[in-house]
Symmetry: C2
Subunit: 648 residues, 2 copies
Amino acid sequence: MSKHKISFQPHGKEISVDDGETVIRAAMDAGVHVNASCGGEGVCGKCRVMIEEGGVDGGITEKLSGEDIEKGYRLACLSRVKENLVVRIPVESTIDTTALKLMTTPRKTARIKERNLDDLKEKGLFIPPVEKKYLQLPPPAHQDNVADLARIVRSLRNEHHERRLEFDMSIIRKIPDTLREAEFKVTVNIARPVRAEGKNRIINIEPGDTTARNYAVAIDIGTTTIWGQVIDLIDGKVLAQQGDFNSQLSYGEDVISRIVYAEKLGGLEKLNEKVLETINSIIVKIIDESKIDPDEVSTVTLAGNTTMTQLFLKVNPRYIRRAPYVPAATLYPPVKASDLGLKLPDHVTALVYPQVSSYVGGDIVAGVMGSGMAHDERLTLYMDIGTNAEIVIGNKDWLVCAACSAGPAFEGGGIKLGMRAAKGAIEDFSIDPNTLEPMNITIGNVRPKGICGSGLITMVATMFEMGIIDNRGKFNRELNTPRIRESEDVCEYVLAYKEVSGIDRDVVLTEIDIDNLMRAKGAIYSGCMTLLKEVGLNIQSLDRIIMAGGFGSYIDLEKCITIGLLPEIDPEKVTFIGNGSLLGARMSSLTNRIRIDVGDTLSRMTNFELSETGSYMDNYIAALFLPHTDINLFPNLKARLEARQKKN
Amino acid sequence: MSKHKISFQPHGKEISVDDGETVIRAAMDAGVHVNASCGGEGVCGKCRVMIEEGGVDGGITEKLSGEDIEKGYRLACLSRVKENLVVRIPVESTIDTTALKLMTTPRKTARIKERNLDDLKEKGLFIPPVEKKYLQLPPPAHQDNVADLARIVRSLRNEHHERRLEFDMSIIRKIPDTLREAEFKVTVNIARPVRAEGKNRIINIEPGDTTARNYAVAIDIGTTTIWGQVIDLIDGKVLAQQGDFNSQLSYGEDVISRIVYAEKLGGLEKLNEKVLETINSIIVKIIDESKIDPDEVSTVTLAGNTTMTQLFLKVNPRYIRRAPYVPAATLYPPVKASDLGLKLPDHVTALVYPQVSSYVGGDIVAGVMGSGMAHDERLTLYMDIGTNAEIVIGNKDWLVCAACSAGPAFEGGGIKLGMRAAKGAIEDFSIDPNTLEPMNITIGNVRPKGICGSGLITMVATMFEMGIIDNRGKFNRELNTPRIRESEDVCEYVLAYKEVSGIDRDVVLTEIDIDNLMRAKGAIYSGCMTLLKEVGLNIQSLDRIIMAGGFGSYIDLEKCITIGLLPEIDPEKVTFIGNGSLLGARMSSLTNRIRIDVGDTLSRMTNFELSETGSYMDNYIAALFLPHTDINLFPNLKARLEARQKKN
């Protein structure tokens, strides 16, 4: 994709963006505030900018007068970049450009970074767990009338150097007719063992040469959302991806309420049926979208937290929520996909990611495997922030992990207008330091309906750094703006008034929301501190951080540091891998090495029950500030805040 | 069981028999002829004997006058031995007792002899394929909250020295609740691997201590008859046994007609359904008869010929009957019993005996394994004579095998009044050399309905040796008896006239029957000769013969030699193991060694296609005489025949 350079004036900031990007998102990325409360749908008309050099696509609406248009004014949210530009932001009040520069820095976005397929290939690790071999067999004769199966085995041994073969019953049923219909030219599907000493299992036989068509399905069973992908096992590409809300949602928002429901008569069966309903509808969609023959799917991998995994496998999760929190099992055997109720061909075996404990589940193990941290020398902090939050610290030699009772703030839970990272969620935000007017960027560029995780972090961080919120998470009530107001005894900031919002009321951020965010980030940060201390290390020891979770597409690392979710670390050391569980499920479809190694990795993952660890509560209470009780843990932020105070 | 001695006069022959045996069977065993055409039901009244010393139970009917009864006459067929006896046979015509002695010798019955369980135990080979272990686990605690499964594994490792464990999904589903309901005192069921390097699989978990209850089911899937047994895996005893006709019989008598039916639309499914119907009804019966809980069944082994196996496994047998006669597979993977449609608990895995070729099937492999010949130094000839006939020659170092197109004469097929070894079948026979009156002994001591294999052999052998049939199998038409007659252009001997038969006509033995028997025995004998020659050996090389098959309970070895079915060999070297297929299925339930070794044995079994072996047809034609074209191959018989001719 071609890139274009944009220069924003009077700030003098430059940024390079993809062709077709909107000017308002380019401004946000450059750290340039443009008033915009409607989320980018062109409704509020506030994001007027002047295109001084170059041209854009769109950006003209009735909100602009003919004169304005002629002068080069456009609405930034509707203008798409197609060449290099010089854009001038109309500054409607006198602004101290020094303050402007101080206040916002170009964002350090950690875009999704995945383990590279080329990397895998280079290291010889692109080993799909199921391979196809094309056989041209001599037809039986009087002097050579071995069994059909023996004929196949002989060819695999002699011509393909395959050893340690075993066969499914179902394939034996297909062999006699398939061989003869195809004139003894067939393709067999060989599933590689998940143990080094295991057997190579022939799971399917097809007439003719079908070696070019071999696919895997990867499924992430989230408490809230379920994702599925179809992966081409020949070139490693993702052919289709779909997500949908877990149908179990009607039976409870979180794992605890699901377990409570599962304990009712028929509850387990109902929840199992519901999760299968969602998974199967996703499977149908992604297979359809990939335009592949469902029979060419060779394998499926699934990952989910411990409760989701047990519900999917129809294993009573009752004891997960009762002290001492015991899961039924950590490792599950490979099972025929159709036996589990999956709408996949009979020859497909389902591999389910193992669990560490009741609250560090297969989704985390998948992330650890998929991100490669379990085989990396660097000391890594892995954080998965979803409906629950889990952290893993370690490297190729050791791994410790824990679940944090963070609550679902990062997925919009416990936030008055919180929502998941879906259309209409404010995912990015900026505020004018003088007028205190907002710049809301929503997913899908539609009117704001609520706030998703990344938007929430950015809002609170920005307002804290600008002094609009203090370190206890309270709004400065002396600021001169109608957007900060008391409503139902709670102080709040109005992000979008009803007139420009996507719902029937104002979209606001309340102090209770901020408090919940602080509890959530505090739980995670203190979890990291506690774990590090338990293994005799500190934050300076960390070589890198991997963040996984259901944020929006963007997450501003500096903002995460500002609120104290992440320790102060070079943003270059942080990668965001998106859905770690799905990544792990996909990666294990690309390299069988993961399937073989996961048991070993699992045995190296030491679980800590934070509630049982003495120092955790102290760490937690200390972390219930912005960014932390001890500001010295965040020296760069401290310097910026001091510079700002000096200036005021 | 107590034994009693019987002395038969005027023959002066003595024999020891079980308490409760009938006098007529005792006479037959002693080689004493008593006229008796009704099979032992007391209808013909011909078997009058005088009890000179001792007393019998029963034997008195209206066929005897009051005077006779007072004198001590009884019907031999209705008299049961309860003490030592002297029995006089009324000789109604003058008989040369020398001829009498010459003519019949005490029979050399090879009663069923099975591999001994004590033997197995002595050799340390009593290793049931599924074992139970009772675990008393510590309940979970905060300091010990490993997964339920891990708790079980830990105990199995530390306290029971179990290694290489794997788990079924179904057991994981049962674990959480079972553990807690049983207060962590449970019994687990461990299936031993069928490969040396395999895993020990936990297949079931039960509350409390159930180690005393562990059972196996063994099934022989015969073309005609299906047999099942329940075996107690604690003491190795057979708790119940049932047989029933294979419901597939309505779709064809032999494997070829079954294959033809299976080729029709829906035919395979129908035959599969039918065989399952019979197997399941037998399973229900034997479990019921054993008074065990079906859930305590831990394993099932099945053996059948190649066609029966493929039909049972729903594998198209079409190519078995078409040159070059290719089976779908020889080795089948272990499969969940319920997936195959067997009425057994979900945790039961079915093991199916492998096949050598299209016509040497799992029933033969089972017999070879069950009889122990594959691990014995002695050079053994194994013959399984059922609906088809198969032979195996070899020892622990090598094995060759072949199927003989013998036809089903030994199971009553192709014989005018042939029948299986069922109630009413003449299973033993003698003939008065002077009157040419028969002595028919039937299964169940009821009126004769037909002739089963052992009866047929005995009839033809006896009549041949007495000169009633010549070496071409033709009746001597000059003998003075109405029992030999021409009917519908065929010469026949009337075994039982309609009045005393169990059917609405005379029970006869025809020359066509004799011809069919000669073809059958000729095929088997020449098969042996051909195989021996192929490996550079001859009949003198044989250390022993093992006969398996669906004969009646008795088989007279000397008679088998007389007709030329068996080579002339010391009868002590012959064992009859009955149903070899069922034996193999049972033995593999008692010693997992068999399951481990069967693959290796199979690879040592070299199959010969007799039709492709040049010398076979010559051998066959030479064997189409009684006992053989070359009487010098049977020196003892030759001497007896010569002595007899000299006397006449």
